[in-house]
Symmetry: C2
Subunit: 283 residues, 2 copies
């Protein structure tokens, strides 16, 4: 059985950076917290917990003088301000692309634009981005949503970094159709599109796909969905322990991919486990 | 034979305004000029000439102390400045929608944007709009054109007022795909789209279409093209004198439409001429 690992499986730039910053802070010791999970990987969160890093939901839960790590998806402007006021040492692991989107929203608001954020309203990244608006701000997920918005003379558009380009295009076209001015910052990070394209190609060339990543990770769930449409024999797992040897009955080629928040060690465990199952079968 | 006149045939808001301003100036007397034809209607230009208004191509050709009328399509910033320097009395008949596009280009340039104008590079409106840029400016007519442009961090987009919305959308999508910031002013005037839609509908309901307007008028040529695709029996004319009675052999219903620069008197002459031909046939 051949195991083919997608070239862009796993950590993107922002997640790699956030994880490094978090483990560095953990190594230093002292009271260390993250505001919400550092990345959407329960395994990484657990490893940090084992090193003494606690994940809390509110600055109020953090002891004075502690270190707080801001997760890759970013936090709301008020939370960051609360951390500053509480005199906490701040390690800002916000993905630089998310940071850019937050800054653009702040600028657009300041310059009198009504802000339109293309994304998922309940995603923490979007909630963080939205919080930087000081004027009117709306989260939309389609052109149809734009049609329902009130009259706006100046529209400022940014996107959740993991949105598809087609999505952004559709929303911008709907804004343009309203006339007036539309100012767009393309804040999409193409790591997501690249990983999806590669995964799609791989799913077309194998008999079985294994998608590794947090069950709470939107981008991993999307990868699994893309694979499933092409190949019903697709399995979304978080860890190697969830693998069922029966999945590989009669399989010649297995494709493996992983979401942006899946660490290399989990991917390695999975590929090793699949190879071991293969040896067992032969042996 | 039934003659059906399109509801939006003829003068749009900007052309009506420009024509009124020009005839008012002509009525006042004195040396009066237009810089280029006031609108794309040779018949209107001729009528103004009969009233003593001369069309010239250059401010240098105008006597000091004269009145100069700026045509509906606008002129280049340098020409307007030259007219001011020459101490001419200026009647600015630039279409307010074109004026807006010129102002947006000036603002975008001033704020450090590279300007992208969606339109026809040789059209006087576009040449006027472009002249308001003080930085880099490019005229494009498709998304493909955008791909060939040099790297730009901040793109400012405006459109020739008569462009189609699909066209603007395509260019904006190509700009967004380059990343960075895209600031768009939708400067399209929907009079063109409304007239085209209505004409298309009418062409589908008649046996013969008559399109009236200057042979040098881009929007009239486009109307004739739209009709011809649906109805080969389409005739583009400038005046009633160009009508051939043979066109109406066996025709039950004639549709009549006219470009944005076609005056009402020319449309009336055409519908009267068609009715007269019909009476001759019966008589």
């Amino acid at each position: 059985m051949e195991v083919i690992l997608a070239k862009h499986a796993g950590f993107c730039f922002g997640v790699k950076r956030a994880t490094h910053l978090a483990f560095d802070a953990a190594d230093k010791g002292g009271d260390t917290y993250t505001l919400g999970p550092i990345i959407h990987s329960p395994q990484v969160v657990q490893r940090l917990e084992e090193m003494g890093v606690k994940s809390v939901e509110d600055v109020a839960e953090i002891k004075n003088g502690s270190t707080v790590i801001i997760r890759s998806h970013g936090v709301a402007a008020e939370e960051l301000e609360a951390a500053v006021r509480a005199n906490l040492e701040i390690v800002d692991a916000t993905c630089p692309f998310v940071k850019k989107a937050q800054e653009h929203v702040a600028t657009l608001s300041k310059e009198g634009y009504d802000v339109v954020v293309v994304g998922d309203a309940v995603h923490p990244e979007v909630q963080g981005i939205v919080s930087y608006a000081t004027g009117r701000v709306y989260v939309v997920s389609s052109g149809k949503d734009v049609e329902r918005l009130p009259r706006m003379a100046k529209m400022g558009v940014v996107a959740q970094t993991t949105q598809s380009f087609e999505h952004l295009n559709e929303v911008v076209a709907a804004c343009l159709a309203r006339g007036g001015e539309t100012r767009v910052y393309n804040t999409i990070c193409d790591a997501t599109a690249v990983r999806q394209e590669e995964t799609k190609k791989l799913a077309g060339e194998v008999d079985c796909m294994i998608v590794i990543g947090g069950f709470n990770s939107a981008n991993t769930k999307r990868l699994a969905q893309i694979c499933r449409e092409l190949l019903p024999r697709t399995h979304h797992i978080e860890t190697a322990g969830q693998i069922d040897p029966a999945w590989f009955e009669g399989v010649q080629r297995v494709g493996v991919t992983a979401g942006a928040s899946t660490p290399k060690w989990l991917i390695d465990e999975v590929t090793e486990r699949i190879s071991a199952i293969d040896k067992d079968k032969i042996g």
